[in-house]
């Protein structure tokens, strides 16, 4: 009896700890990214070890020209990683040190996730000309750092967008498209409860995987002809409009969407 209680207690405690560890609100603590971004040196150090400020402009221009060519070569990230130790071994050591310091302070799992995020960030920011300039001309270090901070903010905003709705312009674009497709049946009475809610499952390109009238049962009820007509007209509008004008990013946030078709305003005229 005592043994089973102990095992149960132990397992529950373990489960509790594991769950608590994985909670994002516990795990989410801001990490100072700037030191790690020093990895970006790698691309440049192959060719520029020149600290002289007067030559900086010329070098920046050269690098900018090369950026355009490099963008297409940027795609495979593995190659970049290989270049890192060859070019500058020191920053990696720094990262390791930072990791160790943070290991002592924070949960190991969380640091791993954050590092992953950083690597994605690196891929995007690999050819930031401000960073390059900052490395050449120390006077630009500060401005580069502020830029990074700003970038960090936008990254957080992107995360928040996952939970937010459509922006006003995104919503307006979608509405404008559907307005054009929806032929409101003019014979409907304006004093009826005429609100049709349709749930959509969308593909990333805005085409429809599935559409469902939420109050579907009402369509087949006697005396609900008007509702059925309106629901059918709304379904026709969606089919006519597809692919819908959806945002190009943030698929996760809009892949399921609900459209509320309300004809009262139009019918009351």
């Amino acid at each position: 009896m005592n043994r089973s209680v102990t095992i149960s207690f132990g397992l529950h405690t373990l489960l509790f700890i594991v769950t608590a560890m994985s909670l994002p609100f516990l795990a989410k603590k801001p990490i100072d990214l700037p030191p790690i971004i020093s990895v970006e040196l790698i691309q440049i150090t192959d060719k520029t070890n020149i600290p002289f400020a007067p030559k900086a402009k010329k070098i920046i221009e050269k690098v900018k020209e090369k950026e355009k060519k490099l963008v297409s070569e940027q795609a495979p990230p593995k190659k970049i990683k290989k270049q890192k130790p060859d070019a500058v071994p020191l920053p990696d050591e720094k990262i390791e040190k930072i990791k160790k310091i943070k290991d002592k302070k924070q949960n190991p799992k969380k640091v791993e996730t954050e590092i992953k995020q950083i690597s994605e960030f690196e891929q995007k920011e690999l050819f930031d000309s401000n960073n390059i300039a900052a490395l050449i001309d120390k006077s630009k270090v500060e401005s580069a750092e502020t830029n990074k901070k700003l970038d960090k903010v936008t990254q957080n905003q992107d995360k928040d967008m996952d939970f937010a709705g459509l922006t006003l312009s995104e919503e307006d674009a979608l509405k404008a498209q559907i307005f054009g497709c929806w032929s409101i049946p003019l014979g409907l009475p304006f004093n009826e409860d005429l609100l049709v809610r349709i749930k959509l499952q969308l593909k990333p390109d805005g085409s429809i995987i599935r559409s469902e009238v939420l109050d579907h049962a009402r369509m087949n009820k006697p005396g609900q002809k008007f509702y059925k007509v309106l629901a059918e007209s709304a379904l026709r509008a969606i089919k006519l409009c597809q692919p819908l004008r959806v945002p190009s990013t943030g698929y996760e946030r809009w892949k399921n969407m609900q459209l509320n078709f309300d004809a009262r305003e139009m019918l009351e005229g």
Binding site: H12, F16, T19, A20, L23, P24, D162, F163, G165, L166, E171, L174, K175, I178, F179, G180, C181, W182, S183, I184, P185, L186, G187, L188, P189, N191, K199, K225, F226, Y227, K228, V229, L230, E232, S233, A234, L235, R236, A237, K239, L240, E252, R253, W254, N256, M257, Q258, L259, N260, F261, D262, A263, E265, M266, G269
Partner: protein, 455 residues
Amino acid sequence: MQEKCWKDKMLFRYLFILLILLPIKVFALIEVDITRGNLNPLPVAVSPLSIDKNSKSNFKKILNKENLGSEISIIVENNLKQSGLFNPLNKDAFLQEPDIANLKPRFEDWNLIKAQALVTGKVTFVDEKLRVEFRLWDVLAGKEMMALAFTTVPNNWRRVGHIITDKVYERLTGEKGYFDTRIIYISEEGPKTNRIKKLAIMDQDGFNNKFLTLGNELVLTPRFSPTNQMVTYLSYFKNLPRVYLLDIETGMQEVVGDFPGMTFAPRFSPDGKKIIMSFAKDGNSDIYTMDLENRIVERISNHPSIDTSPSYSPDGKHITFNSDRSGYQQIYVMSSSGKNVKRISFGSGLYGTPVWSPRGDLIAFTKLHKGKFYIGVMRTDGTGERLLTENFYQEAPSWSPNGRVLIFYRETKTNKKGEGFSAKLWSIDLTGYNEKMVVTETDASDPSWSSLLSN
């Protein structure tokens, strides 16, 4: 007490653990409100109904029609177009043959010409009778919405076209159609000083016109019964007004009664058992009803002013009428017993001929303001007045059985000098945009719309 406290604590702990175990990342479902759309008529393709060779030759012999399938589809097409709610597409653009389209439409082809609904069908000659099948398809959804078949005598082929339109209209708009109906009106011929007026009846699209009286007596204000094909109208016999009842099917006519003085506009009650009208007794015009079974006349309104043009609400509980009791002619509503009289029109100008909509939500009226006549509608409490059409002279609106369209008559000057005039029937829907002239053989006035011939 301690035990309860311990239980509460345990419950709290369990709830806390449960909350932790619940999925944490929850996406709020994005909702977008669509409050506007376009008011363009719905594009509909009405494919000619397919017909086999044998049936074709039989119908040619009986009806002298080359291709009855095409003829019926043209009726459907014209009706849908006339309603203003649909835009029938040009048949030249159709890619699929009628016989194949009726079996299984290639929706891609119909989608290509932007059709959102498709009507297909088949006409056959079976046992000396006309059999018509039709199907309504939702082109975008790629599914059948409705399939029906009718069998009737070949002479009813126009009615079949109207019935198909009613069914399509009802399925696509949610309200009953008004195409398988007739209109009774006063046919007018001759100069204004010596006008010959006959009672006439026709289909709502102007076909099958018939004259019901010879024109040797003045006839006025015919009104259909809402329940059957009976008509009540006013006629002057030896300069005395008489109220008549006419059975359209049999042609039988009877006098309801002679009434004193000026008698106006008899109209049926919703159950068809009473007639409501106004007549002047002792110099005072009031509203009266007459029971058609026992012919008992009952006074409804009692006021020294002139009360005329009564019309029942569809539930029979209220009556709307016009009266000058406020100093000039306005619209009033009262209970069917004559109590609780309430003025509902307060706009400038004179209001008359109020008619309660069969749907019960609106009252149509004629308004005279600054020398112009308007046909308009208002809610039954007088709010939401909308003037649908304006002209030099027009009056007497009558509702279609679904309460969506009004028919009325309009007099126009035939030349710029104002010499001569012409009276024609016009229809307008509640949007006020779809105004159309109803073609009649002669000049026409005082129209009244029948209820649906087939339910």
